[in-house]
Amino acid sequence: MAELSLMKGNEAIAEAAIRAGCRFYAGYPITPQNELCEYMARRMPEVGGTFIQSESEVAAINMVYGAGAAGARAMTSSSSPGISLKQEGISYLCGSEVPGVIVNMVRGGPGLGSIQPAQSDYFQATRGGGHGDYRTIVLGPGSIQEAVELTMLAFELADRYRNPVVILGDGMMGQMMEPVQFPDGPPPQPPAKPWATTGTRGRGSPNIINSLYIEAERCERHNQRLQEKYRRMEENEPRYELVNPEAEYFLVAYGTSSRICRAVVGRASRDGLRVGMIRPITLWPFPRAAFDRVVERARAFLTVEMSAGQMVEDVRLAVEGRRPVHFYGRTGGVVPTPQEVLARLKLVVEGRGGES
């Protein structure tokens, strides 16, 4: 491996994208992801790529649609309000099966909200904020090093499934610095894309990228094919980290919340509690298998989010009523402290967990 660099999450994701062969970036500035735009503006010309500060977020996602359709590895990034604007484009990428990577450094909402870190766009990312029966793979990095690895993976998965992939970070993951290493060697070659709109030279008929199926039956067949693809994603792509599989109580958290919970796991064990953590890495497909592994031994789950309670719905679906599922969250850009979470966990242990 190469030498260590101390980088912000935003910068590390941008560099990882370039190392993964991304040569097209379009975006519009918004805090707390500006360092990503800024880094791309500097780096893209150095590698012969294209950086565009677009006139709007809507323009940026449609430029990614176009670049992806022509076969490029393409990315856009924003934060919550800007990602809302991109939803129509994401639906089109899914409908026409064009790969692309979308980074959301989530901030407090709704509306303009705050500029501090939040996780309140989980529903939007995992359910789809645009129209139609579509799915995107959603990756939630828990460290800056993992942000690098997941960014590289995002481009691979996007190409493999011809589908957009969302990297769901938060303001803290974007602006925090940690040491990172990038893999040595040249970027992996993207797979051949015989479907891309690269001109008809050497080929008889033009490729067409489109999401319009005007006859209902044809549109249904298209949907069935998409659903079959999403089922393959659900079979092959769930990823998670399980800390202390032998524990009695499990915290469930991703991204920044998982860092808080990791500290709580250590403190709780010093207080004599047997506490573990399930950290979903793919938020969609949700790693239900992690829950099946521990649910027989577990006494209860405590989901911790920087939201009013979104992922907790997936946790309840995965636990299927077999054990109590509790929730603790902070909203609006407030990051929960380990002390708060530990206090809430102790209530759960005492059987006074509140809502479940």
Binding site: T31, M172, M176, E178
Partner: protein, 180 residues
């Protein structure tokens, strides 16, 4: 060994730079480290703080809520963070700009006339480095040579003429700590 450091001051006092220099030096020494900024929407004149965690193990929580050491460069930061320092921890405050003494008796309180020393050295802008020097001498969190090496990496080459000034400021801060 675990250092959870909180640094705070006005935007423009070099709080983020001081923190990233410390984090960089820790990385060069092969330690696990995180640097977390926190600021309001304003770039200059607002309050800014950063959290640096240096550990022998992977950093679980980059958020510092009970610092082992706090370095505060202005009065609002002292008022806000004095009570958060862990009992037995260290509180370094910039006595050039802060017009009251801390009241904690269960932490080691160190007054550093950082702006006065920095001005003696020729630039008030290295007041942050004076405080960092005091912190390093008290804790041994990273070596002075790692910080010097970090300065060479962090500063663009056309600013390398500022390195001796920064090193002098670190040394004056360290002397203050050694004088006890």
């Amino acid at each position: 060994m675990l250092h959870e450091v909180l640094m705070a001051g006005f935007g423009g006092q070099g709080v983020m730079a001081m923190g990233s220099l410390l984090a960089y030096a820790a990385m060069l020494e092969g330690r696990h480290v995180s640097w977390l900024p926190s600021y309001g929407p304003e770039m200059r004149g607002g309050t800014a703080n950063c959290h640096v965690v240096i550990s022998d193990e992977p950093v679980a929580c980059p958020l510092v809520t009970e610092p082992t050491a706090a370095i505060v460069l202005n009065r609002p930061s002292l008022d806000r963070f004095e009570n958060s320092v862990r009992p037995g921890g260290i509180l370094i405050y910039n006595s050039s700009l802060i017009d009251r003494a801390p009241t904690r008796t269960d932490v080691r309180v160190v007054a550093v006339p950082a702006n006065r020393i920095a001005e003696e050295l020729g630039s008030a802008r290295v007041a942050n480095m004076v405080c960092l020097g005091t912190f390093l001498a008290l804790t041994g969190a990273v070596s002075a040579s790692s910080v010097s090496q970090s300065l060479r990496k962090a500063l663009p080459v056309h600013r390398h003429d500022l390195i001796p000034l920064n090193e002098a400021a670190l040394e004056r801060g360290a002397q203050l700590a050694r004088a006890g």
